[in-house]
């Protein structure tokens, strides 16, 4: 087990270097320049542009630019092209903004998808099952941003309360209970919107897993023993049906970055996804690279975590 973990970490570290190098090359080779060296500014002279390019090391060979980036990242002095602010504190601030949205959306997905999928499997072919199948395919097919717009129009139109951004404006002097609840309210619509797609997809998986388990011999045996139906389903079948989902916990990690770019954009939420999006638009290489690097770290850590979790919960699997 420990062998496995150590070997895997080593492998992933090598992979991380390769991924970051490839990503670095791709980002720099893609067309477009940082907006600071935008030659469409009619007043900019070639001399000025040459100076800015030199300051950003844009004329150095790619591997040198990579080395500069690694050096500055390691020393914590990496700066954004856009406003010359240190990259890591900037990312951390945005991360704290994105975190509640991410946690709440994940909670909603996992608490709603399981009952929805399980009941669908238990009452297979019934009205409820067919209704949820239809609904989940509808929700998978309708783009999230479209639903979000409808939700905004509907909520604002009917209830007349603000839903955009992280809190209501002009509430600075209100009591703290009101302020906290105001923040919770602003979380509701974007997190529900971000969760809907996830609920639809995950409940389909749960349903099919559950159906598979319910058709197995030991379930029939349990029923033959004369156990109550609830005991059969929730006592015997459910645990086994849920096993594969444990591994998905690990895969949630990379969703922290870029998991909700669209929703943050629509709801004017000052989070990580928007930071990444704006950085890409203005070709702010240090930010793009660092976010990409963190995403790669999270993905690799997530898959490792999944492997380990699977071994922990399923005694049939042994890691070598």
């Amino acid at each position: 087990m420990w062998n496995f973990i150590i070997r895997n970490i080593a492998q992933r570290l090598i992979l991380l270097v390769i991924v970051s190098f490839v990503a670095h090359s791709f980002i720099h080779l893609a067309p477009g320049e940082p907006s600071e060296v935008d030659p469409m500014n009619p007043r900019m002279k070639p001399e000025d542009i040459a100076k800015i390019r030199a300051a950003f090391h844009l004329d150095d060979p790619l591997y040198m630019q990579y080395a500069y980036w690694i050096r500055d990242l390691a020393s914590g002095e990496l700066k954004s092209f856009k406003d010359s602010q240190p990259v890591l504190p900037k990312i951390w601030d945005r991360f704290l903004n994105s975190l509640p949205l991410f946690i709440l959306a994940t909670l909603l997905v996992w608490t709603w998808a399981f009952p929805a999928g399980i009941y669908g499997a238990v009452f297979r072919g019934g009205v409820y099952d067919r209704g949820t199948v239809f609904l989940s395919y509808a929700l998978i097919s309708v783009p999230g941003f479209f639903l979000s717009y409808l939700a905004i129009l509907w909520v604002v139109g009917w209830f007349g309360v603000p839903v955009i951004s992280i809190k209501t404006f002009g509430m600075e002097h209100a009591e703290s209970a009101y302020k906290i609840m105001d923040r919770v309210w602003h979380l509701v619509i974007p997190s529900v919107m971000a969760a809907i797609g996830g609920i639809a997809v995950l409940s389909r998986y749960v349903r099919s897993q559950m159906l598979e388990v319910l058709s197995q011999d030991y379930v029939r045996t349990a029923r033959a023993k004369g156990l109550e139906e609830d005991t059969v389903i929730y006592g015997h079948a459910l645990g086994n049906a849920l096993l594969p989902f444990v591994t998905m916990f690990g895969l949630l990690l990379p969703g922290l970055i870029g998991g909700s770019v669209i929703f943050e954009q629509i709801f004017a939420w000052p989070g990580l996804g928007r930071l990444a999006y704006e950085a890409i638009l203005s070709r702010d290489f240090p930010i793009i690279m660092t976010l990409n690097f963190i995403a790669a770290v999270l993905t690799l850590a997530g898959t490792l975590l999944s492997d380990i979790l699977y071994a922990v919960v399923d005694p049939r699997i042994r890691l070598h």
Partner: protein, 710 residues
């Protein structure tokens, strides 16, 4: 079964917990009633966050809109787009000019040129008044003796990969005797006036190799690049325009420190400091020196004629005491940076750019990245405080959400899209303002291609397009026909010029005259080739895309075959526009207030990566463009711009289409508050200035509790 119940209860409890928060959030009606501060708070929506709040460093519109509230320049533009004094009370423009003695030259009478002779001849002409312009503007003439000086010249040379890079070369310059002139106003024709005395060719053939000596061994390319700079290093005739600013006394920065001439000089030096990478350098690079005459007088001497440099002083002035080397060093120490980072640390890295202090009407309070920027009014402002107490810029990237927030009152201002304008114009809750901006949309033809080389053909192509229809249907009427390169709401635009008529028959006739005839398939054909080209534009702008289709269809009717294509912005610029490898493009320009069109229309700017990408070349236009940027007199400038406008209109390098109108919608409760004669407040309806700006009187704006009747 407990598991079953949990599976049911947990999601229900979670969603109920979330939904109950609704009851804690005030609705808009309640919010306004319980929150009187809302009436003195102005909230604006912006689709992009600011980048850097420093007047010498910012280059994006969100940053500049905040910076213009926090900082103030020496000058600004008044209702009529004329300059008026802000931090400066008034200013005078004069000139000092130098004529170098060219020892290898002979006067028209055959005599050899020496300093004494040149001086004597000029003095004679000046005193006797043979040239009226000379005797009128020149106040004194003197002879300066020869000197030596050391210069460091920056040359732009291609490196191994062909990218331009800067190289500094040290040179010793031997400056011969010079005649110096003092003029009461700038006269760009001074040296032309002297030509009858010194001879037509006096300004050519100066023996530069004798005067300029590089202090190091130079490679061949470097030497050539240096040679190209000779006239810049030692011009035979040199104009030095001078601006003297008298500064307002008793003006304070928002931290209480008094503003003086040192801040002006510091701001200039900060712009020119290569470490700061200021995008403002082009406007300040022509400055030779900034002298502090006394704490409230600054004298700025320029190296050459460059009239846009006057407008450049509308830029905000920085507080020296917060950004000088001492303060920056203190900041690096407080932040505990590594030695290397300390060395590289410059103004760009300072926290000042996140919490600026200026001398403008509003002072900075808080900035939450991608969320909002909060300003409050500066009570110590020299003209008195603004009506609004607080100013918020909220960052809402989606236009749709901006509109939703506007309609519920969470922002006070909305820029309506063309298709929404009708809806808002008919809604009694809002007041709206429609005006021209500085932008226009055009179809640009690659003038280098033989197909478009003839201005008549370009004219015919323009005549085939029904611009009126485009404005009516594509822009929902939110645009005006434009005929030339200047913004319609400036005096540089000549409104007497008539737009091209919509006349497909006339267009056909022009093609026929040029030898094109209609073939069997309905296309224009000449020498076995049909008139066919590609029209391209950038992705992400639906109006341009539709425009392309309309043009394609209009041209098809007269027998011109057009293929259209849309490219991603970076590809569009990189592969087509910058390389000049295109036939025709649909694009738009957003112009400045200055009449200088050098970058866009001068023939020297037609190379790769340059902005005259259509390759427009006209000798007369070049002359006019240079004269305009060297002219400091507004009336003469206007005459020249009108001539240039007419010339470009006749040449039709672009088909000028329309200038979009922008419509801004505000709550009707927002009014102008003025003090009446009896000392009581008077309310007036907000009105735009001549140039269409409604925020010019922003400091008088306030929201009332009731909707006033005007």
């Amino acid at each position: 079964m407990i598991v079953k119940r949990l599976l049911l209860f947990i999601p229900l409890v979670l969603i109920l917990l979330l939904l109950q928060s609704y009851f804690w959030v005030p609705t808009y009606e309640n919010q306004a009633a319980g929150n009187p501060d809302r009436l003195v708070t102005y909230i604006e929506g912006s689709s992009g966050d600011a980048k850097i709040l420093n007047p010498i460093l910012n280059a994006d519109s969100s940053s500049s809109s905040i910076v213009s509230q926090v900082f103030e320049g020496l000058l600004d533009l008044d209702e009529n787009l004329d300059l008026r004094g802000r931090l400066a009370t008034d200013w005078q423009i004069s000139e000092r000019a130098y004529l170098v003695v060219n020892p290898h030259h002979r006067f028209p009478d055959g005599a050899e040129v020496t300093g004494a002779r040149l001086f004597q001849k000029i003095q004679e002409a000046w005193k006797t008044g043979t040239d009226e312009g000379l005797s009128k503007a020149v106040q004194s003439v003197e002879l300066l003796s020869a000197t030596q000086r050391q210069d460091s010249i920056s040359l732009l040379l291609p490196n191994a990969e062909g990218r331009p890079q800067l190289k500094d070369v040290r040179v010793a310059v031997h400056v011969p005797e010079r005649v110096a002139f003092t003029l009461s106003q700038v006269d760009q024709d001074l040296f032309d006036r002297l030509k009858p005395i010194v001879g037509e060719h006096y300004f050519e053939h100066f023996p530069y190799d004798e005067a300029i000596h590089p202090q190091e061994e130079l490679a061949k390319e470097t030497e050539q690049a240096l040679r190209d700079k000779y006239q810049e290093i030692l011009p035979v005739g040199e104009h030095n325009p001078i601006i003297v600013f008298h500064l307002r006394k008793g003006v304070k920065f928002q931290d209480g420190h008094e503003f003086d001439a040192g801040d002006v000089k510091f701001t200039y030096e900060a712009i020119m400091n290569p470490k700061n990478l200021s995008p403002r350098t082009p406007d300040f690079e022509p400055i030779k020196t900034v002298e502090i005459v006394d704490p409230h007088t600054v004298k700025i001497i320029y190296k050459r004629l460059y009239s846009p440099a006057v407008n450049a002083w509308t830029m905000g002035i920085l507080p020296e005491h917060l950004l000088n080397d001492e303060s920056l060093t203190r900041e690096t120490e407080q932040r505990g940076l590594s030695a290397e980072a300390q060395k590289a640390f410059g103004m760009r890295d300072s926290q000042f750019n996140r919490q600026p202090i200026g001398s403008g009407r509003f002072q900075f309070v808080e900035w939450q990245g991608d969320e909002f920027i909060h300003l409050k009014r500066f009570d110590g402002y020299w003209e008195g405080p603004a009506q609004y107490h607080d100013f918020y810029m909220r960052i809402i990237p989606e236009l749709f959400t901006q509109e939703v927030e506007f309609r519920t009152g969470a922002i006070d201002f909305y820029g309506a899209q063309p298709h929404q304008v009708d809806r808002y114009k008919n809604d009694p809750t809002y007041q709206w303002f429609s005006s021209l901006g500085f932008a226009y949309t055009y179809i640009g033809y690659n003038n280098r291609k033989p197909l478009f080389a003839d201005s008549e053909i370009r004219k015919a192509l323009g005549m085939a397009i029904n611009v009126g229809e485009i404005i009516q249907y594509l822009m929902y009427g939110e645009g005006e026909r434009t005929t030339g390169p200047y913004p319609k709401n400036t005096e540089w635009y000549d409104s007497t010029i008539q737009p091209l008529p919509y006349d497909p028959q006339g267009a056909k006739a022009i093609f026929q005259q040029a030898g094109w005839h209609m073939n069997a398939e309905g296309w224009l054909e000449k020498d076995g080739k049909i008139f066919e080209f590609n029209l391209i534009t950038n992705n992400g702008n639906p109006i341009r895309k539709n425009l392309m289709t309309i043009a394609q269809n209009a041209w098809k009717k007269i027998g011109v075959k057009v293929n259209t294509q849309v490219f991603e912005w970076a590809v569009f610029l990189g592969d087509f526009v910058n390389t000049g490898d295109f036939d025709a493009v649909v694009l738009g320009w957003s112009m400045g207030i200055d009449p200088d069109l050098f970058q866009i229309w001068h023939s020297s700017q037609a190379g790769p990566q340059q902005l005259n990408f259509v390759g427009y070349k006209s000798q007369r236009a070049d002359e006019l463009i240079v004269r305009i940027r060297q002219e400091y007199n507004r009336d003469r400038q206007r005459q020249l711009t009108h001539e240039l406008h007419r010339l470009i209109h006749e040449d039709q390098p672009y088909t000028f289409l329309y200038a979009p109108l922008s419509t801004r919608v505000l709550d009707k409760k927002i009014v102008l508050v003025e003090e009446g004669p009896d000392g009581k407040e008077q309310y007036k309806k907000i009105y735009p200035t001549k140039s269409g700006d409604i925020t010019f009187y922003f400091h008088k704006w306030r929201k009332l509790e009731f909707t006033p009747d005007f």
